[in-house]
Amino acid sequence: MTTTPTRRRTVSPADAARIPQRGGHKWGYWLYFIPGLLLMAAIIFYPIVRNVRLSFFHWRGGRAEEQFAGLENWTALFQDHEFLQSFQNIFLVIIAMVIVPTLLGLVIAALLFDVVGRRFGGKLSSFLRATYYIPQILPIAVAGVLFGWLLKPNSDGVVNQFLTTITGDEVTINWLGGSYGTAMASVMVLMIWIQIGYPIVIFMAALQRVDPELYEASELDGANWFERFRAITLPMIRPEVFVVSLTTTIAALKVFAPVFILTQGGPNKSTYVPSFYAYNEFINGQDKGYAATIATAVTIVVFIVAVIFIRVQSRAERKDA
């Protein structure tokens, strides 16, 4: 990408690079797949096959016998209150990891690029971009512990002390253990905090692609900042908006660490997400077959979402071409 930007244009996919065949056969290339495919088979495909199979059995784990269960696990899944609750929470997670960061990211990136970068200097805008990006590089577990400290219950909590100072009244909210509302909101704030830097960096890089003369011309025409944002910025960086929402949606479906660290699924299992539920069932549950069913269900949903996105993307590309 960085090495051959000028050549890329001239090479069409049809006559792309290939080492001229002389003596060597094309199947010789398959040899290069051997390490990759062997490892994939052991680390990825074996667990998938095993768990899909296990979802049709009851199994206590260890040396216990597996008992064929047919579709029992699957029918139980759709009547399982905790499972349905965990999927419901995923919609809130998508709001916190996809929708809010993408929308805020669009506004902040345009602000940093268009106003701060062009009118106050590139140094300040890169510095601010780096600041917004810092939560992205922290280990999520560490970020979780940090928020756990801020949100401690009663008068120990930093947030509670802060609110006490502001309001003048003693504030003793049990953020993480008190109620579903505050616990889920806390998890969501942590997710927004972690995610916000990712769209900002990508959108700002995309904006560099936009011809500055376009902005200048529209400025001369008397377009204000918001009009320029809607007419130029948004259409130009649509591919990046798409990629960001794809990757973060998949990350949202698989989310685990923020819930594990902050709430452990509590209070009363209300902040369960599917990953945490499956993990918990594998470790503490009675039936690994049921745990495998939850994990398989999540995997199916992730794959479906990925396929839909890939389809939409290739259709959009064909339309553009």
Binding site: T3, R7, I48, R209, P212, F282
Partner: protein, 301 residues
């Protein structure tokens, strides 16, 4: 996504014709609205960094100082009890070493594996390559709880539990999925004149890969390596499952363990959180440019 690269390539020459597009703009005085928007952007950044600043203000307080002051106060005096307790009791140096060891090896192995896979896909253009890329991508898509139990039993049978190699092998495969995806499209547009010239000089495929292709795509490979390192460093679920002995824990794991213990002193926890952040911050400062380049490469392949 080729239209994106074309657009950027097309935009470049025009930008050169007008080397400093901002110069004309700067001549115009900044308006009040622009000042307000700038202040808003700075305030937003302050909100984001505020939790880290709070850590910094509280990590150096003695336990009594912490108990008697508000978290928003500066420490009375610099006190290193919390940091010292965390460093010694939790064996932080050992965890730091484990994290560095695991992340470095994963970064190196995953890049090698990505190059091998994408060589056959991008240069070899083997039949069904779109499907093969998707097949490899599954490693990146599959939720980790799907892998956790079967791999736990596999590594148990092999005697690899609480051994860094269980994590190294697993994440080499998972990270290489993304590398294969990215490098395949990059190698698909590799200039064919270079390869033809190498073949004319009698280079075999393996030799072309090693002495021609890898040197040319080196900048991208180093970006990938930095990313694989950070991603592996930050991993949580599978290391939590595979690494159980006190000696085998990584940095996120010791912090999580400390957080779970009821009798943990708050100053120790705050100091521990700060120390756990420092390696990533240092890494970020060193590789900031590479990172920004890499995030973009990942988005618009």
């Amino acid at each position: 996504m080729t239209d994106v690269t074309q657009a950027s390539a097309a935009a470049k020459p025009r930008r050169k014709a007008n080397p400093d597009p901002t110069s004309r703009n700067k001549a115009r005085p900044r308006t009040a609205a622009e000042w307000i928007l700038m202040v808003l952007a700075v305030l937003g950044a302050l909100v984001i960094i505020f939790p880290v600043l709070l850590l910094l203000m509280n990590a150096f307080k003695s336990p009594t100082d912490y108990a008697n002051s508000s978290p928003l106060d500066f420490p009375e005096a610099l006190d290193f009890t919390g940091i010292q307790t965390f460093w010694e009791q939790q064996n932080f140096p050992r965890a730091l070493w484990n994290s560095i060891f695991i992340s470095t090896l994963v970064a190196v192995f995953a890049v090698i594996l990505s190059v091998l896979n994408s060589f056959a896909i991008g240069i070899g253009r083997v039949k069904g390559r779109t499907w093969i890329v998707l097949l490899f991508l599954m490693a990146n898509l599959v939720p980790q709880e799907m892998l956790f139990d079967p791999l736990f039993q596999l590594y148990d049978d092999l005697g690899l539990l609480s051994n860094p190699w269980s994590v190294i092998i697993t994440f080499t495969v998972i990270q290489a999925a993304f590398g294969t995806y990215l490098l395949s499209s990059l190698l698909g547009t590799f200039p064919k004149e270079i390869l033809e010239a190498a073949a004319m000089d009698g280079a075999t495929r393996w030799r072309s890969l090693r002495s021609v292709i890898v040197p040319v795509i080196k900048p991208t490979l180093s970006v990938l390596m930095v990313f694989f390192f950070i991603w592996t460093w930050n991993e949580f679920l599978l290391p939590l499952a595979f690494l159980n002995s006190p000696d085998s824990l990584t940095v996120p794991l010791i912090l999580e363990q400390l957080n779970g213990e009821r009798q943990t002193d708050t100053t120790t926890l705050v100091a521990g959180t700060l120390i756990s952040i420092i390696p990533t911050i240092i890494f970020f400062l060193i590789f900031q440019r590479t990172l920004t380049r890499g995030i973009t490469a990942g988005a618009v392949k």
